[in-house]
Structures are given as structure tokens and as C-alpha cells.
């Protein structure tokens, strides 16, 4: 599915990634882990083409993504839930969903499907995204990404700042997507979520991949998380 091999990237003259490699497979959740500033969000942005890479390769099912324009990448069926949600704040819930549907030409069936995953959004369709609660905004960000009917879902700290009931709801949807065969690349800080969901864990530090573990190995030695993340 997703193969990232030795990518390098920079913000202007400041290098951010010095050699990140990872893979994410269909029907699995791959957790991308690291301390603040390690480069997790940068990896996500590089996959989406929002930050051009200066070396290495990114492929999805053998198709190179790093040669594509940023607006062509979501058409490869990659859904992106960025850190901080980044909703179109002044657009309504319905309009945010419509933007998601436009990317891959999805229609009413997909709209009904995402609204069935997050029924609360159906009650808020005419409401501006900026007026939603934090949890509802996260639901909308996830729903918008699922509108692409993605085969790869990128989730950047989806539970950040949410109350436990909302976290459980987002977690249920992520697990359901895994069961439906999506590849999920998840950036997460909460140890409990990592240990309960990860099929694979990739640790990065200072813009480099430093370790890769299977989920069961991680669950057998949870102190690995403490070692790498300092939590």
C-alpha cells in the first residue's frame, strides 16, 4: 500500500526530515510516533504533497506520489485529517462535506455513508463549521476525509483535546475503517490509544526513523513507548 523510503524534506533552508522510511498496509493501523518536533506532521504533509520532498520516494500501490501535484494526490484515494482539524471554518457542515465529495467525484451514497458514521453531523448540516464543538469539529474533519472513500487514511492527532466520549467515537470509526480494509497512518500521543490500536509502530526522532515495531511487540513491551517518547 503506502511505501515511504528514505524521504528528506525542508521548510525553506531548515531541514525537517533526514531519512524517514515506513510502510502502511491495507487493513492495518500504523502509528507514527515521536516526541514533539520529531517530524510526524511533516511526514503527513509530505505524503499529501503539501511539503515537497527533496529526496527519497513515496508510493501508493506502486504509484509514485512524490511526482504528483498536491491537488492530484487526494485523487489517489488518500484522506487526510490534519492536526488541528483545519476545517473550512466559515463554510457549513454540508459544504465541508461537499468539498470532500468533490475530490473523487463521490455522490449521495457516500454522503449518506459518512453521515451514518457521524449522525450528530446530520443535525448540524447548516451550521458553520467554526461554531461546532471541538468533538463535532473532529467528526467533521474525519467525515470530510472519508468522503474520498480513501484506501489510505492519514490521521494527525485526531483525539487531541477531546473529551473521552468523543475519543471513543473517533476510535470506533478508526477501528471500523481498519476492519473495512483501509490502511490507516495515525499520529497519536495517547499511550492507551496507541497500545490498543497499533498494528505497527514507527518511531521517528529528529526527522529520522529510529525504530519499527509490530503492535504485539509494543504491547508486550510498553516501556518502549516510554523510552522513545519520554512519557
Amino acid at each position: 500500500m503506502l511505501e515511504i523510503t528514505d524521504i528528506h524534506a525542508a521548510y525553506g533552508r531548515v531541514n525537517a526530515l533526514y531519512g524517514v522510511s515506513l510502510s502502511a498496509r491495507a487493513g492495518e493501523i500504523t502509528c507514527l510516533l515521536g516526541r514533539n518536533g520529531a517530524g510526524k506532521t511533516t511526514v503527513m504533509r509530505a505524503i499529501m504533497g503539501l511539503l515537497p520532498i527533496t529526496g527519497g520516494t513515496i508510493t501508493l500501490d506502486g504509484t509514485p506520489l512524490h511526482n504528483l501535484r498536491a491537488d492530484c494526490i487526494p485523487k489517489q484515494r488518500i484522506g487526510y485529517v490534519p492536526q488541528g482539524r483545519r476545517l473550512f471554518a466559515e463554510l457549513s457542515v454540508a459544504e465541508n462535506i461537499e468539498v470532500g465529495l468533490m475530490a473523487c467525484g463521490e455522490g449521495h451514497d457516500t454522503r449518506d455513508w459518512v453521515l451514518s458514521l457521524f449522525p450528530r453531523l446530520r443535525e448540524r448540516l447548516k451550521q458553520r463549521a467554526e461554531t461546532l464543538s471541538g468533538g463535532e469539529q473532529q467528526m467533521l474533519a474525519t467525515a470530510r476525509a472519508l468522503c474520498l472513500r480513501p484506501k489510505l487514511l492519514l490521521l494527525d492527532e485526531p483525539t487531541e483535546g477531546l473529551q473521552p466520549s468523543m475519543i471513543a467515537q473517533i476510535r470506533d470509526v478508526v477501528l471500523r475503517m481498519r476492519a473495512e480494509g483501509l490502511a490507516v497512518l495515525l499520529v497519536e500521543q495517547r499511550m492507551q490509544a496507541i497500545l490498543s490500536m497499533a498494528d505497527h509502530a514507527v518511531f521517528i526522532e529528529n526527522g529520522r526513523t529510529i525504530d519499527t515495531l509490530r503492535g504485539d511487540a509494543l504491547r508486550a513491551n510498553p516501556e518502549t513507548l516510554t523510552k522513545h517518547l519520554g512519557v
Binding site: 499529501m48 492530484c72 490534519p82 473550512f88 471554518a89 466559515e90 468539498v99 468533490m102
Partner: protein, 308 residues
């Protein structure tokens, strides 16, 4: 003429100015709102619209209404197309960097202005209005214990000026419907909110920017086609609309379309009233003073959002 009828006349003249200004400033506002580009060449797109209107009307040479309708269709299309090409060839290549776009649009200003001077010459060119009958306006007076209408001498407006007000209102309503009810409008608004996220959802931001830059210039050209039967087309006519458009956009709030309309009405009508009762120079001084006050007391403009 009494004060009341005189004031009504001034307000109507101001409404014509406001209508043209709303269209022109809306183009500037749309471009800034979506692209964050300060388009210093905007006045030249307005001038180009007027010159093309003259060229089309003169070339067709038939009934003025035919030439006018052809100009109203062709001038915005040609000017909008030119602006879209300029966006792709110049602004996209400099990455919409704020400082460089200002310098680049100053360059475009001079290229368009001097190109027009070289091809169309320095003369002011009149365009015949499609219709221009004089409509006397009634006024109310209290006489013999009841209100009655009468027609004061000199209180009149031309049918064409009323048409300008109505046409501008219709174009603005059409623009609002386009922005709020169509997929292209949704794409523009999404790009305006967050261009990086728009790309992450498959929106070709480069093409959207070219379309928006073209749309902004086309709106200026529409304003010019409407005004050219009242003012003559001339290669230097873009300066005042540019200045007034900036005044309107700053007062209304950068990127706020409703704010732009409200500010255009305020500036246009005050321009009309002050010009009639005092002098056009005082009207410009007042508008500039209004901008200064807005920048001091409400920098985000009437309906703009505070920068975080």
C-alpha cells in the same frame, strides 16, 4: 431648486457612482479575499474594459444598443481572459509572494496603460448610451392641507443612469448566487479559507487563482462598460477607480463582499452629495479621511475579521 429635491438628485447621482464603484471594488475584494493579492493593476483592467467597449461599439457601428450589449459581453470576457493569462504567466511564477505581486502588478499597470496609449491613442473616446431618455422626478410638497406631487424644474435623471444602478445590482446578486450556490463558488470559498487544505481535497488552487484573478478583472471591466456612456474611455481613466476601490475595500473590510457593497454605497452616495453641495475635491478628501479613521479605529474595516 429647494434643498429636498436637490438632495434627492445628489443621492441619485451618488447611487450611480456607488453602483459602478461596487462592481469595481468587488473585483478587487474578490481577488484579495481569495488570493491575498493586492492588485495594483485593477484600475487598468477597468480602463481596458472601457476602451474595448468603445472599440466594440465603434466596430459594430449599428444601433448603440447592439454595440453596448456586445461590449457588455465581450469586454469582461476579453479582460478577464487577459487577467487569467497574466496570473498564470506572472503571478503564479513568483509564487504570489506579497511584495513581489505588488511590484508585478505595478508592472502590469504600466504595460496595459502604455499598450493602450500606443494602440488606441491618447484621445478620450465617447460611447453612445443604448437609451438615454430624461425622466423627470417627482417631489412631495405640503399644500392646502395635503401632500401632493409636483415636478421641480431640473429634478430629473436619465433612464440610462437608472439602468446602471439596476444592472450593477443584478450583477452583484448574480455574483452572490455564483459564490454561494454553485460548486465553482464553493471551490473559491474553500480556497479562500485555507488554500493548503483545498489542495489536500483535490482543488487545483493554481487554476482557481487564475479564475479568480480573471473574475476580478471582468467585474472591473463590467463596471467600465456601464460607465463608458457616461464618462468617455481614456487610457488614464483607471487611476480614480483604483484609488476609490482601495478606499471601499479597506472601509468594507479586506475580502468581505458584503462589507464592500456597504462601503461602496457609503462612499458613492457621500461622493455624490458632497460633490453636488460642495466640491468633488472635498468628496475625495472626505473619502480619504474616512479610510484614515477606519484604519485608526477599526483596522479590520466594517465587516472584516480581525487578524489573529
Amino acid at each position: 431648486m429647494d434643498f429636498g429635491p436637490h438632495l434627492m438628485l445628489a443621492i441619485l447621482e451618488g447611487a450611480v457612482t456607488a453602483a459602478i464603484l461596487a462592481l469595481t471594488a468587488m473585483g478587487l475584494s474578490v481577488v484579495f479575499g481569495v488570493m491575498r493579492v493586492v492588485n495594483v493593476a485593477h484600475g487598468e483592467f477597468y480602463m481596458l474594459g472601457a476602451v474595448i467597449a468603445w472599440f466594440v461599439a465603434t466596430t459594430l457601428g449599428a444601433h448603440p444598443a447592439l454595440g453596448f450589449v456586445a461590449a457588455l459581453i465581450l469586454a469582461p470576457l476579453l479582460v478577464g481572459g487577459l487577467a487569467a493569462v497574466a496570473d498564470m504567466l506572472i503571478l503564479q511564477r513568483i509564487g504570489y509572494d506579497p511584495e513581489r505581486t505588488i511590484v508585478a502588478t505595478i508592472g502590469m499597470l504600466y504595460i496595459i496603460q502604455q499598450g493602450t496609449l500606443m494602440t488606441f491613442g491618447p484621445d478620450a473616446r465617447p460611447v453612445a448610451p443604448p437609451f438615454n431618455s430624461r425622466i423627470p422626478l417627482p417631489w412631495l410638497e405640503w399644500a392646502e392641507g395635503k401632500l401632493s406631487f409636483y415636478y421641480p424644474w431640473g429634478l430629473s435623471i436619465t433612464s440610462y443612469k437608472l439602468f446602471v444602478i439596476a444592472a450593477a445590482a443584478l450583477i452583484l446578486i448574480a455574483l452572490w448566487l455564483f459564490m454561494t450556490r454553485t460548486r465553482a463558488g464553493l471551490v473559491m470559498r474553500a480556497t479562500q479559507q485555507d488554500s493548503a487544505m483545498a489542495q489536500a481535497f483535490g482543488i487545483p488552487v493554481g487554476r482557481v487563482y487564475a479564475l479568480v484573478f480573471g473574475l476580478g478583472a471582468a467585474l472591473a471591466a463590467m463596471g467600465a462598460v456601464l460607465v463608458v456612456p457616461i464618462q468617455q474611455a481614456h487610457y488614464l481613466m483607471g487611476h480614480d477607480p483604483l484609488l476609490l476601490s482601495f478606499i471601499v475595500v479597506i472601509i468594507g473590510g479586506l475580502g468581505s463582499l458584503p462589507g464592500t457593497v456597504i462601503a461602496a454605497v457609503l462612499i458613492g452616495v457621500s461622493d455624490g452629495v458632497i460633490s453636488v453641495f460642495f466640491s468633488p475635491t472635498l468628496a475625495k478628501i472626505t473619502a480619504t479621511l474616512a479610510v484614515a479613521m477606519v484604519l485608526v479605529f477599526r483596522p479590520q474595516g466594517l465587516l472584516g475579521k480581525k487578524a489573529h
